[in-house]
């Protein structure tokens, strides 16, 4: 647990994810429950960027919540790094649609929240937190409170807060969905650069075809509710990618490929 400090700087050990026939039904009073996930099977390689794409209500957020350990699957196998998921843990970093920073803590205190709560706060971790704030461009906003930050800055602070734990996998639930188009493009650019330097496993939920094609190595398309895996599409665009790639013909073709599966 507190092996964090013993490791050299910024080496992530990406972990794989394995889902087998995962089912989840939300029970309702006196009525038969609504199945949200109907047997999802999926593998994510260590260091892979996988996008979960599907119409709203298809259970992609439910799937992510199961991986994060916030909800439990009714049946099926959920393994992260070979270990069954039994609850939330810091080795699986979660980024939500809203940054969910603690409003009573400064940026700096927010970033150190995880190590402090686990009793793993060492001078080395503090150094690393300072480096991380530099990386996400918030070194000047270290003592600012969340309400004093812009939308994009809050998201980057949330990134730093998760990355200080060196998670083996990042779970992201439409993290840029609530941002305006310009900030959103900036955040996508930021995430691409970050991930291309520190390869960690990412499971990224989105309903935006363009976002999925730009970011993902593979795109898993979920079917309309109850959700099941409809198809898994390889995105053959070369790495490193940049935001400017969205103008190329190859990118447009990749997008069309995804959309065809989505509308099938």
């Amino acid at each position: 647990m507190s092996a964090v400090a013993a490791e050299p700087a910024v080496t992530d050990r990406p972990t794989g994810v394995r889902l087998r026939d995962v089912r989840k039904t939300f029970s309702r009073r006196r009525r038969p429950g609504r199945p949200a996930l109907d047997g999802v099977s999926l593998d994510v390689e260590p260091g892979e960027f996988l996008c979960l794409l599907g119409p709203s209500g298809c259970g992609k957020s439910t799937l992510l919540n199961i991986l994060a350990g916030f909800t439990r699957a009714d049946s099926g196998e959920v393994l992260v790094g070979g270990e069954p998921v039994t609850g939330p843990g810091h080795e699986r970093g979660v980024l939500f649609q809203t940054p969910n920073l603690f409003p009573w803590l400064t940026t700096w205190q927010n970033v150190l929240y995880g190590p402090k709560a686990r009793g793993a706060l060492t001078p080395r971790v503090r150094e690393e937190a300072a480096e991380l704030l530099e990386t996400v461009g918030l070194a000047d906003a270290r003592d600012a409170y969340p309400h004093e930050l812009s939308g994009g800055m809050r998201h980057r602070a949330a990134f730093a807060r998760v990355l200080i734990n060196r998670p083996g996998v990042l779970l992201m639930d439409e993290p840029f969905g609530a941002l305006d188009a310009i900030t959103r493009a900036n955040m996508q650019r930021f995430l691409l650069e970050l991930w291309q330097r520190h390869r960690t496993t990412i499971v990224f939920v989105t309903h935006d075809v363009e976002e999925a094609a730009l970011l993902g190595d593979r795109v898993a398309v979920l079917s309309a509710p109850p959700g099941g895996t409809k198809a898994v599409i390889d995105i053959d665009l070369p790495r490193p990618r940049s935001y400017e790639d969205t103008d190329t013909l190859a990118f447009v073709n990749a997008k069309r490929g995804i959309r065809e599966v989505l509308e099938r």
Partner: protein, 279 residues
């Protein structure tokens, strides 16, 4: 390590403080003092026009009376000074308010955490909350006499439902994802409960305490007018019986100062607890 996000929205400087907000707060303080001075000036002019100290004494007359009776007892036989009355009322408020707040916090937290407690307490609080506490004064006098117990009990039963509802509402309003975020950052359920759920509810609880404090002053003044031998309410009633209008105003001014001071303390507490209200 290079900065990946330097081009993002780095232009939005997030350094708090600086010279401008401070100057603005001084200006606001000046405007507030000016408004008070204006109100006093209007009062003075109106008093001079009316020219009858029983209907409306001048500001200077009131200030004189206030200064005199601050250390001189009224009524002269068995009476108390303005200072003593203020201390008596403040003591009653503090005792009832602290007990009521503590009980309200416990009850609110229990209702938020345990479903049975919520289902049991909800209707009782629902019936109690709209009741004006002063309706209970005769009953409390019958039960506890005209001593301190009945006053403290009155404040207690006035404060309790307000703080309970505020605590419950604040705890219910904590977004579940804030708790999930804490858990997935590695905090234990207990740590999350203490440092996130309860912490996030603090500003809402303090706001409830401010509302309860206002109600507590209403209740205590009424109780002191009906059944008491001391306190600011008792003083005002006595002064009214003898047409001592300057003294009535002195008592009212005393309540204003005390009420402002207590609300100021709670506002300070809120500022400490909630960075978003610091301006």
């Amino acid at each position: 390590m290079t900065t990946t996000a330097e081009h993002a929205d780095a232009a939005v400087a997030a350094v708090p403080g600086g010279a401008r907000p401070r100057r603005r707060s001084w200006r606001r303080l000046g405007t507030g003092a000016g408004a008070l001075a204006l109100a006093l000036a209007i009062w003075e002019v109106a008093a001079l026009v009316i020219g009858d100290a029983v209907t409306l004494p001048t500001v200077t007359e009131t200030a004189d009376t206030f200064a005199t009776y601050l250390t001189k007892p009224y009524p002269e036989v068995q009476g108390k000074t303005l200072l003593e009355d203020a201390l008596i009322s403040t003591g009653r408020i503090l005792a009832g308010f602290l007990l009521g707040t503590a009980a309200g916090l416990l009850l609110g937290a229990a209702m938020a955490g345990v479903r049975v407690v919520r289902e049991l307490a909800d209707p009782i609080i629902g019936v109690m909350r709209p009741l004006p506490p002063i309706a209970f004064i005769p009953l409390l006098v019958v039960w506890f006499g005209i001593g301190e117990t009945s006053k403290i009990a009155l404040i207690f039963f006035g404060v309790l439902p307000i703080v309970t509802v505020a605590t419950l509402g604040a705890l219910d309003a904590v977004p579940p994802d804030l708790l999930n975020a804490s858990r997935s950052l590695g905090a234990s359920p207990f740590h999350t409960m203490l440092h996130v759920r309860l912490r996030a509810a603090v500003p809402g609880v303090i706001t409830g305490m401010r509302i309860a404090m206002g109600g507590a002053w209403t209740a205590i003044i009424a109780a002191e007018m009906i059944a008491a031998t001391g306190g600011v309410g008792f003083l005002i009633l006595q002064a009214g019986n003898y047409l001592q209008t300057p003294l009535i105003f002195s008592g009212i001014a005393e309540i204003a100062v005390l009420g402002f001071a207590f609300d100021g303390l709670l506002r300070l507490l809120l500022r400490l607890a909630d960075p978003t209200v610091r301006r």
